[in-house]
């Protein structure tokens, strides 16, 4: 049984092996579905020179933004980074590199990385700055650009439930990039709200099969809401 028991008992154990200059792929969209404790552990470890692949970079004091405080991130690969004053400052001062990638291309690059597809063609970004320097080609009369896969040394994931085999499900829109990120890490670490018994998640409902997962840790989450908008504030016709 030991071979498939992926549950670890400390954040230190969960992130063991992370060293300077590694590439870390992080699930999450804004502050939704982010592995809060694993990010905080990276801050604690003071690992530096990181390339971080994630749709966004959190906010100044929460999520991936906390890794900016001590300049642990060398390069960010994201589709949107507009929520973060520290990010802007480090970018303008040349202390931080950013590779802006269309959101769908980013998701597909992670999936490709996990699925053994080194590169794929997409119409997204053709004729724009994103397509500059990339091969383009026509298929059926339409122009496409070639985009390459992304793989990470680590993938850090937030799931709702996981069992000790690493089988995961996500809750609502906290799913987002997490399933693709989970496939693309050499070492995939999942921080979960609930560790459940094997079999508790029906096999066909598992979002991330355990084969992609190396470590599972019981997390504790703040689950901060980035933009709280209620029905009272926006009336609908």
């Amino acid at each position: 049984m030991a071979g498939f028991d992926k549950v670890v008992s400390s954040y230190a154990e969960a992130m063991a092996g992370l060293t300077d200059n590694m590439t870390v792929i992080a699930g999450g969209f804004g502050l939704c579905g982010i592995p809060e404790g694993l990010i905080n552990q990276i801050k604690l470890m003071q690992t530096r020179g990181l390339t971080v692949v994630s749709n966004n970079c959190g906010v100044d004091d929460f999520g991936l933004g906390v890794l900016l405080v001590d300049k642990q991130i060398k390069k960010m690969i994201s589709s949107y980074v507009g929520e973060n004053a520290l990010f802007e400052q480090q970018l303008l001062q040349g202390e931080l590199e950013v590779e802006l990638t269309p959101q769908g291309t980013l998701a597909e690059k992670m999936r490709a990385g996990g699925a053994g597809i080194p590169a794929f063609y997409t119409a997204t970004g053709y004729g724009t700055p994103v397509g500059e320097g990339k091969e383009s080609r026509q298929f059926n009369g339409r122009d496409y650009i070639l985009e390459e896969a992304i793989n990470g040394d680590f993938a850090i994931i937030k799931a709702y439930k996981a069992d000790r085999y690493g089988n995961c499900i996500y809750r609502h829109t906290a799913q987002n990039f997490n399933p693709m990120a989970a496939t693309a890490g050499k070492m995939t670490v999942v921080e979960v709200e609930h560790i459940v018994e094997p079999g508790e998640i029906p096999p066909s409902q598992i979002h991330t099969p355990g084969i992609y997962v190396d470590r599972v840790i019981q997390g504790s989450f703040e689950k901060r809401i980035e933009r709280k908008v209620t029905a009272a504030a926006t009336t609908r016709a």
Partner: protein
């Protein structure tokens, strides 16, 4: 008179057909959801992984795991589905979303759009906009016809970095509804009380004005 944001949104909503899957960008496009005609139903796609987006939640319904692509708390309607980002963009890039409505800084007569980056200002990123303009079957751009300095946003050629090329066919502004065809803007409707001369004056790219340009019904 130039349309209000709400009136632009109303006019956008008239484009929808019963059964359309629609992705609405932040700002005026999002408002269009409020004006879907009562006799039709559309389903809203949010590119973070939600098909069947509902209204914002009540305080009691608030849930950090339930947000839209603008990172705002939302709900899901009955019949909604929730999925990962790769699946979400498979829908978008595979042409399964019928309509995308989004804002822009500039559009030109070739159907090019610039909407994500102003050089020498901070670059925040394109999010899903490049995927949306590359993937949707129909794209409607909503924007004011001119910027706050009176400069036209409908150009002979975009000056800002592009979001997509040859992809825009329909624009709804505060002054007019226009179609892009054969390298020109075709004036299809004008805002109530807005003169064709004003629209001409505020359209920098080639404008074709048919004999009959009805007023919008908003």
């Amino acid at each position: 008179m130039a349309l209000s944001r709400e009136q632009i949104a109303m006019r956008v909503a008239q484009e929808f057909k019963d059964g359309d899957y629609v992705n609405l960008g932040i700002g005026i496009p999002t408002l269009a959801a409020n004006y879907v005609p009562n006799d039709i139903e559309v389903m809203l796609q949010s590119e973070n992984g939600l098909l069947g987006m509902g209204p914002n939640p009540t305080e009691a319904e608030l849930d950090a795991d339930m947000i839209n692509a603008g990172k705002e708390t939302v709900t899901a309607i009955t019949g909604a589905s929730i999925f990962n980002s790769a699946e979400s963009f498979a829908m978008i890039r595979g042409g399964h979303v019928d309509f995308t409505v989004l804002g822009a800084f500039e559009v030109d007569v070739f159907g090019n759009i610039a909407s994500w980056m102003i050089p020498n200002k901070l670059i925040k990123g394109m999010g899903g906009a490049m995927d949306l303009v590359a993937g949707a079957k129909n794209i409607i751009v909503t924007m004011t016809h001119a910027d706050k300095h009176g400069q036209s946003k409908l150009l002979a050629q975009c000056t800002l970095p592009l979001t997509g090329v040859n992809c825009i066919t329909r624009i709804i502004t505060d002054l007019a509804v226009l179609e892009i065809l054969d390298g020109a803007f075709y004036l299809r409707e004008r805002a109530p009380g807005v003169s064709i001369d004003e629209i001409k004056a505020k359209t920098a790219g080639k404008l074709v004005v048919p004999d009959n340009v009805p007023e919008m019904q908003v």
